[in-house]
């Protein structure tokens, strides 16, 4: 947590020697707090002050990365409890768990399907983040073989799950340059686990049993053994327990700058759920409330798609709605006779409309107006999608040069502006389209020039 100017001042020599270029130590401290000066400008600062300032500058939740052949999951470095306070920065990894006791064909099938899964939403390709391979057999050789099998199918980051350091060591030998998360150090095995993680420079998960003080103690021991990249599993599993423990960990890190729990958290929603539906609801909780890695026990497109969508939604920067470039967009080689529709430049609105215009299979023009990234009704209410704005866009993008007819279709939700728009655009006929994008294909099929 950053120090205030006054807190920094207390650490400075307070001699006002001016050698740093500022008139007083206090002025220098204020500049440091505002990150407009470097501590090295002070020739007399103590080692103790340097250490305190360096520690304070470190992020309250450490950034942890796991990777495989360039695919990477980075989590941590979060700064707020609620997304409206700023934004959530690093989407949690959604990983699928496979076990080395599963029949080989089934095992390969799950990995292949999940690795190849990709779904498009608002112009982005959403995919599964990685796999968690569990050494359920207890046999290091079997485990290593299955990790090799996963690697052969998928170039995705891995979590390696075993209580046995020897099994992890055997699996690591098959990794070939990727950086996995080792899961997990507990009260019994932490020394060997820490040694293994330290040796390879891999992040290590530390597992507690529900009590955060015990978890912090374990983290301290692991840290003292030389491991810097740590991921927490508080050991809680039920919906209410995970919500509370993950909230407490985030609060301790952000509000108390409690370093021993200043790490991302890994969750296993399937272990706290009585059904697949409950696992999905719990995974959704972990997306909204503070997980860094979420390990799922089921892979099914019908639940993965909603979860990936939720993750995209929650991690959208509230200050920056995703916007489209205003302009005139073409669908299916439109001619001057093709219909002209208009909508706003809020990405979700655009993609809903664009998808349906494509579906309709009718060549068309779509005028995307600059509504400052707002959806149709919101933009209309804010004066960012009224007759004046639409008329301005029609002129700005020389729409009249592209089409021969003079008909423009406006969204049904803003039917009320059709009169004003006809006044703003003399010679044009304003048609009121459907209220919902889903009804566009039916509308376009009936559209007549």
């Amino acid at each position: 947590m950053p120090l205030s100017g006054l807190e920094i001042y207390k650490l400075l020599p307070k001699t006002n020697c001016k050698e740093c270029g500022f008139p007083t130590c206090l002025a220098f401290a204020m500049k440091l707090a505002a990150k407009q000066a470097e501590l090295t400008a002070c020739p007399y600062v103590s080692e103790e002050a340097k250490a305190a300032l360096a520690a304070a500058a470190a992020p309250p939740i450490r950034l942890i990365a796991i990777s495989s052949d360039g695919r990477k999951i980075e989590v941590g470095n979060e700064t707020v409890m609620f997304r409206h306070e700023k934004t959530f920065y690093h989407e949690p990894g959604l990983l699928v768990r496979v076990k080395d006791t599963q029949p080989l064909e089934e095992f390969k099938d799950t990995v292949t399907k999940a690795a190849n899964y990709s779904v498009e939403r608002v112009g982005m390709e959403l995919t599964v983040s990685g796999f968690a391979v569990e050494n359920a057999s207890g046999d290091p050789a079997v485990f290593a073989e299955r990790v090799e099998t996963v690697k052969a199918i998928a170039n995705l980051p891995l979590v390696l799950i075993s209580k046995n350091p020897a099994a992890l060591e055997a699996a690591i030998a098959k990794l070939d340059g990727s950086v996995p998360l080792l899961y997990a150090a507990d009260e019994d095995n932490w020394q060997a686990m820490a040694e293994l993680a330290e040796k390879h420079g891999f992040p290590l998960a530390v597992r507690g049993e529900g009590d955060l003080a015990a978890l912090a103690n374990l983290v301290e021991q692991v840290k003292n053994a030389g491991v810097e990249d740590i991921v927490l599993d508080p050991g809680t599993r039920s919906p209410v327990d995970t919500l509370i423990s993950l909230t407490q960990i985030r609060r301790l890190a952000l509000k108390k700058n409690f370093r021993l729990l200043g790490y991302p958290v890994i969750t296993f929603p399937g272990e706290g759920a009585a059904s697949e539906a409950e696992e999905v609801a719990l995974a959704a909780q972990h997306i909204a409330k503070y997980a860094g890695f979420i390990v799922l026990d089921h892979f099914d497109p019908a639940t993965m798609y909603p979860l990936l969508t939720l993750r995209l939604n929650i991690y959208t920067d509230p200050q920056k709605p995703i916007q489209m470039e205003p302009g005139i967009y073409e669908f299916g080689d439109p001619t001057p006779e093709s219909p002209l529709l208009t909508t706003t430049n809020f990405s979700l609105t655009y993609f809903s409309v664009a998808g349906e215009v494509e579906n309709a299979g009718v060549p068309a023009w779509l005028l995307v107006c600059d509504s400052e990234g707002m959806s149709v009704l919101t933009a209309w209410a804010a004066g960012n999608f009224d007759a004046e704005v639409i008329a301005k866009m029609v002129k700005q993008f020389n729409v009249a040069d592209k089409i021969s007819h003079r008909k423009i279709v406006i969204p049904g939700l803003v039917a009320v502006i059709s009169g004003e728009l006809e006044e703003e655009l003399p010679g044009w006929e304003v048609l009121v389209g459907p209220r919902e994008a889903v009804d566009i294909p039916a509308y376009l099929k009936l559209w007549q020039n």
Partner: protein
């Protein structure tokens, strides 16, 4: 020396207002039971630092005429009762609803406009068919809403039903009717903390008691603006707990309507294979919209599919178990 951990707790000074829907025979109504929502003194399900005296509840949405525009999946799930709101309400109660939300469509299947008498008769039939407290929403056209809801308020006198939606451009008639007949109202604003607060003030300025107002912050479905509603709700709830009295109304989210309106749930033709099984996807869509908003402070979620009701109710039950 072992590390000690002091769990940071928020010292909230405010709380959410308790609002009771329905009235039993003793209270002048005919409901088998009442449902109280609100009363929280902390953020959702954080039992370690405050009280959550009433669990969030699930209302099942029914309509007065056959919902032609609904997803085929919903039509299949409910079957014949879709033609009879009383039978539908009875079945909804059997599926575990805590509340029934009756949505007046404004017109029957032939397009004939609903009269106030017809709306009143439907409400009476539904009240006779179920012992659960009732929410009645108008068709969403100001004039017709007023006409129908005034008749409904009178027909359900003494039942403490919730009437909606009151919007800033149209709330006086509905509030006056609720005031005259001891009903509740739902105040609805488009995803904005200040507008939400302002409408509560306007309604209470009509001498309408605050413990009879539910707040609809406007729901965005998963993938369709859920994050806006989610953050507005978190901000409203934090304001309520901080002591801002005009934000302390329990929140209602129309999850079923928003979720089932979306393409993911409505159709299965020409959609990407990556969307997966239609039924499972649609139910997951509705369930995640509901559970996510419960974590942002929803006190009532309205649901359309019976299987979603089971999932959401089960999840609420687990979230209400005190930390083990």
């Amino acid at each position: 020396m072992p590390v000690t951990v002091e769990i940071p707790k928020e010292n909230w000074t405010g709380s959410v207002r308790e609002v009771t829907l329905g009235a039993t025979a003793e209270q002048g109504g005919t409901r088998a039971r009442t449902v109280t929502v609100g009363g929280e003194t902390t953020l959702p399900f954080l039992h370690f630092e405050g009280e959550i005296p009433n669990p969030p509840v699930v209302a099942i949405e029914i309509q007065d005429y056959y919902p032609e525009d609904w997803s085929p999946l919903l039509k299949e799930a409910w079957g014949d009762v879709l033609n009879d709101p009383a039978a539908w309400a009875e079945k909804a109660e059997a599926y575990g609803a805590d509340l029934i939300m009756l949505r007046l469509r404004g017109a029957d299947s032939e397009g004939k406009k609903t009269t106030p008498e017809e709306a009143a008769a439907t409400v009476k039939n539904v009240l006779a068919a179920t012992g659960l407290p009732l929410i009645v929403r108008g068709p969403g056209q100001a004039e017709l809403d007023n006409e129908l809801l005034v008749a409904v308020a009178e027909a359900a006198k003494g039942e403490r039903i919730a009437l909606g939606l009151c919007e800033d451009k149209n709330y006086r008639t509905i509030v006056a009717a609720a005031l005259a007949h001891d009903q509740l109202v739902i105040s609805s604003t488009p995803m904005d903390v200040n507008l939400s607060k302002q409408l509560t003030i306007l309604i209470s300025d009509m001498n309408f008691p605050l413990d009879r107002i539910l707040m609809d912050p406007t729901t965005g479905a998963l993938g369709y603006g859920i994050e806006y509603g989610y953050s507005v709700m978190e901000r409203l709830r934090i304001a309520a707990l901080t002591g801002d009295t005009m934000t302390q109304q329990p929140m209602i989210c129309f999850v079923g309507e928003e979720s089932w309106r979306q393409k993911e749930s409505k159709v299965n033709e020409g959609v990407p294979e990556a969307w997966g099984d239609w039924t499972k996807r649609s139910i997951t869509w509705e369930a995640l919209t509901a559970t996510t908003l419960l974590h942002a402070g929803a006190d009532i979620v309205t649901i359309r599919h019976p299987e979603t009701v089971e999932i959401v109710k089960g999840f609420i039950e687990k979230l209400m178990m005190k930390e083990s």
